[in-house]
């Protein structure tokens, strides 16, 4: 398959996600978290957090509204029927807690072709309302030839 690399380096408008207490709890239950920091306000406050703490992988929630437009960008040209999520990296900064507002900016880091498959790599940088980088994500997708 031929890949179009014109979109490499393209940046998308940042998207802000407001972190809700019940959303953290819903997510924590869905992934089986039992640490009361994620579930009980009093437990979080007892350890000095303002509110319930998001599990690190909640990054998948607050970053996804920013990743979506890049994945679906016609200029990137991913064929979804043939796409698989091949790899993922997150690097975390300060913890996210309920009440935070997280702004995520996404860029196309790489598009390449190897062995008849297309490789698409996106980077997300998520920043809280204090300007701290709370998470940097690297999202790798493979589109099989076809």
């Amino acid at each position: 398959m031929a890949v179009n690399t014109n979109a490499v380096g393209k940046r998308y408008p940042p998207v802000t996600y407001a972190v809700g207490r019940e959303k953290i709890r819903e997510y924590a239950f869905a992934v089986g978290e039992t640490n009361p920091l994620h579930l009980e306000v009093q437990a979080a406050r007892a350890l000095g957090y303002r509110d319930v703490v998001a599990p690190p992988m909640f990054a998948a929630v607050y970053a996804s509204p920013a990743i979506g437009p890049a994945l679906f960008d016609p200029e990137v040209g991913i064929n979804f029927a043939l796409m698989v999520h091949a790899g993922q990296e997150f690097r975390w900064g300060p913890l996210v807690v309920a009440g935070d507002e997280i702004e995520t900016a996404v860029a196309v880091r790489d598009i390449s072709e190897r062995g008849g498959a297309g490789f698409y790599v996106f980077e997300s940088v998520s920043t809280n309302q204090d300007g701290d980088t709370v998470c940097v994500g690297t999202w790798s997708n493979i589109v099989r030839g076809g």
Binding site: A30, V31, P55, M57, V61, P65, W92
Partner: protein, 127 residues
């Protein structure tokens, strides 16, 4: 944590409706995860687990080992094969090295003896 140490094993069996709950919690409603008929039509054995749910189990094994969510600094995974509901998932890991107060853990998630997350590496801050 010392090089060669195993982190505590994490075992979890996603129930039949887990993918529906995770879809709602995460916002990822791709029908391959929630619609049995659709999944079969596109050649899958049935609904498959969300990769990021499985990665969250790998993350949970690290934060349990590290003493809380603050300890996990980095996690990198490769997704392989397909995770299935109602099959037990087993996450194991070994401390590979210690550097500057950070334990580098090599970790894997398996179902039925097959790795569905492999070549995964975590960095856990050690107190």
């Amino acid at each position: 944590m010392q090089p060669g140490d195993q982190i505590p094993e994490l075992r979890v069996t996603p129930d039949k409706y887990l993918t529906v709950r995770y879809a709602g919690a995460s916002g990822d409603f791709n029908p391959i995860h929630i619609d049995e008929d659709f999944a079969r039509q596109v050649g899958l054995p049935g609904r498959i687990l969300h990769g990021l749910w499985t990665m969250a189990q790998v993350a949970r094994a690290q934060t349990d080992a590290g003493g809380g969510p603050h300890s996990l600094r980095r996690l990198q995974v490769q997704f392989r094969g397909m995770g299935l509901p109602e099959h037990e998932l087993v996450v194991t890991g070994t401390v590979h090295e210690l550097r500057d107060g950070v334990a580098v853990v090599h970790t894997v998630a398996e179902q039925d003896g097959k790795a569905i997350i492999r070549n995964a590496e975590a960095e856990i801050a050690v107190e």
